[in-house]
Amino acid sequence: MCEKMNVKWNEQQIVEQLHDAGSREQAFTQLVEHFKEQLYWQIRRMVLTHDDADDVLQNTFIKAWTGLDGFRGDAKLSTWLFRIANNETLNFLERKRQALSLDDEAAVGVAARLESDPYFDGDETARQLQEAVASLPDKQRQVFNLKYYDEMKYEDMSELLGTSVGALKASYHHAVKKISDFFHAQD
């Protein structure tokens, strides 16, 4: 249906095309091509399994499509999409928690979910790291993932999450300490 886009990315032009009914669909296809990979990894590190990440990513883009009229270009497209993906991810995790009783949650813990996912190829240390990260509160986990995996600057993170740089630094420090404690406890 749509061929892989090799068109040079021009954000201002894409934004204009997204607001024109005649070019909206094509511009949206370019937008998906440009951001799909970045958003996938952001989501995947939170929901852990590939199937869940695929569902949340599709829902993120569908939300973006249906909310295009609400995007006025005040923020960057990347910021706008990141926030949608963030909300979709947190809502997904919350729904999943509500759907599971405590016993179920223990049965389908992080280790069990990662073992059942054919697209997780980590060793024991990798599984322990994911268990440690999963034990963090959702927002602290997001900060840790953005800093640790994406090596994002605190200033950029501040714009994405709408949190002060100081608060983000403190949040990352707490996350690292908890993960470190987790591994010390394993020794």
Partner: protein
Amino acid sequence: MKEEDIIKKLDGAKSAFKTPDGYFDSFTSRLMERMEHEGLLAEQRPTQAVVVEMPERVKAIPLTSVKRWVRFAAAAVVAGICMIGGTYLYTRSDVAEQTQADSFAELMSEDMLDEALDYELLNNGQIEYYLTEAY
């Protein structure tokens, strides 16, 4: 060991997540197909781009063919009018004759009818006989 050192030691665990082969290559087309299937794309397409398909039979008939059909139709209508009119007139005259005959029969007695029939059934020879013999 410092906390940051432990985190750095875990760097090898960063690449544990994988995706199916070709996942990113096919993602956009799968997403757009899903959106098309759910009617989300059609909702936002410009209205002027909506083309109302004409039925094939209406589109396919050329003007000359239309004229020919108009002629056939006109001829059929005229033929129909002639048939209906003719049948009507024929039926009317038939009825009129029947009515006239019935009235005549009422006026004449049975003997008179017999006599009239006899007279009617006379051939030329009999007529000549009656005339020459001074009947």
